[in-house]
Symmetry: C2
Subunit: 299 residues, 2 copies
Amino acid sequence: MKYSVIGTGAVGGFYGSKLANAGFDVEFLLHSDYQYVKENGLKVLSCNGDFYLKSPKVFSSTEKMSKSDVVLVGLKSVNQELLYKILPPLLKDNTLVILIQNGIGLEEDLQKKFPNLYIAAGLAFICSQKKQPGVIEHLFYGSINLGNFSCKDKALFSNVLNDFVKVGIQAQEVEYYQARWKKAVWNMPFNGMTVVLNTTTDKLLKNPDTERLIYDQMKEVIDAAQILGVKGLDYSFADKMIEMTKEMIPYSPSMKLDYDFSRPMEVYYLYTRPISEARKAGFEMKKLSMLEAQLKFLG
Amino acid sequence: MKYSVIGTGAVGGFYGSKLANAGFDVEFLLHSDYQYVKENGLKVLSCNGDFYLKSPKVFSSTEKMSKSDVVLVGLKSVNQELLYKILPPLLKDNTLVILIQNGIGLEEDLQKKFPNLYIAAGLAFICSQKKQPGVIEHLFYGSINLGNFSCKDKALFSNVLNDFVKVGIQAQEVEYYQARWKKAVWNMPFNGMTVVLNTTTDKLLKNPDTERLIYDQMKEVIDAAQILGVKGLDYSFADKMIEMTKEMIPYSPSMKLDYDFSRPMEVYYLYTRPISEARKAGFEMKKLSMLEAQLKFLG
C-alpha cells in the first residue's frame, strides 16, 4: 500500500507520520516547510510517545510524487480548487482519497470534479498543532473515523482501516453523512463562537447564557441533520457534546487559531454549505446563519 | 412649570439645558460632575448653536431638590432600582415623570413601584455625548417623541410638548408602545452588533452578510411587535431604518460607547425584556436572543 499525504500539517502530518514511522510507504507534500523538513526531518511530540522521522519522503509538488493507493488530504478546505488541481498526478484507476477535513459537502464537490474517484470522509478527533516547521505537537485524543462515500473497493477501504489500527490509531468505520453532521454538532457552535467572542470552549460553557446558546445552536444542527435524513441523531447528542467539552481542557478550535494567526477561516464548508443544504430542505438555521454572517464580517 | 432632570448626561442634560437656557425653571441632579458644574456651569456645544448656563441649579441629591411638575429621567437603565429610590423627593400628587431611556418595559416597571404616578415615555432621536465634565456636545438630530403611558392630566402632558417646541426642540406625541418598539427596530440590531463585532453602523451595512443579518434582526423585532399587538408597523419600516442609517455618518450606538468605556451595558431593557415579552406571547426572537447571550458573555 502506497500512501501520500497532501497537506502535511497538524492533522495530515500526524496520521501520515504514524504510518511512516511504522514502516509504511508514505510520501508527503509540503509547501512552506518543504526545505526545512527535507533537511531536518519530521518530529512528532505526541502524548502517546514522541517519535522522529529522520528522512521522510517529502515533495514540493505532486508532479514529482508517485501514484498512490491512498491519498490523505489534510489541507484546509478554504481552497479546494487547489486540491482539484494538484490531485491528478497521484491518482491511479482505483486510488482512494480520504478527506480529513471539516465540514459538509466536501465529498460531493470532489466527486463532481472526479466522477470515478473513490472517496472517503476522514473524521479526525484529535488535538494537535504545528509547533514550528517540522514539529507537530499531538496533545490529546487522536482517533479517526472513516466514512465510505464512493469507494467501491471494499477491501481497499478495510485495509486502510486496518493499517491505521496496526500503527496504533483508533479507527473505525462510520456512516459518512451521519458522521459529518455529528461532527458539525460540535464544530458549528464552538468554532465560530470562540472567534466572535474571542474566547475558549471552557469560558463559553461557564457562562450560563452562552452555554444555553451553544446548546440551542447544537439543537439547530441536529434539527437540520434530521430534516436532511440523518438517522440516529437526537438532542441527547448535544447533551453529550456539552458534557464532553466541559471535561476538556480550555480549547481553541481550529477556526479560532486560523483567525488569531490571520489565516483564512473555513466558513464555506463549516457554515455556508450546511446552512444552504438545510435551507434547500426547508429549514432555516437561524442562529448559525447569524454566526456565519458575523464570521464573514470578521473574515 | 417646574422641571427637574435626573441624570444630567448627554441626553437628559441636553434637553434640560435647552429648557433652562430659554428661562424655564430647571433643577439638575448630578453625580460625579456636581462640583465641577456648580463652579463652572454647563456648556452645550450644539450643531444648532452653542450656549452656556453660567449658574444652573445643580444638586447632588434629590433630597435637596424641589418637588417638580415634570421630571426628565436621563439615567442609563442599568440601575432602575436607584431611580426608584431617589425619585420620591421630587414627586407631588400629579408629577409627570418622563423616561428618556432606551428599551421596553421601563414604564411598566416604574408604575408597579409607584401605582399612581403619571408616566410618559421620552424617545430621543439625538446624537450627543458628554465631552468632558460640564460639556455636552450635540452633534446632530435632537427631536424627542413623547408617549403618554399613564398621565391623566392631558393639559400637563400637552404643556410639556409645547414647552419643548417653544425652546426649539422638535417634539410630538406618539403612541408609547408602538414608539418604543419602533425604536427597538433600530436599537436591538445596531447596539449589540457594533459591540460584538467591534465596529460602527456604516461598516455593518457595507458588508452584504451583516447588512442582511441586520435586516433579518429588524424583521424579528417587527414580528415580535406585531405579535404583541403593535399596529402600523411592517417590514417597510426595516427598509426605512436601513436606508436612514446608510445616510448617517459612521456611528457608534450608546451601548458601543458604554462597552468601549467599560460601563455596564443596558442589556436588560434593550434585549432581555423585549425578548421575554415576545417569548411570553409565543414568539422566539432567535437571532436577537443569540445577540443577547453574546452581550451577556461580553458584559
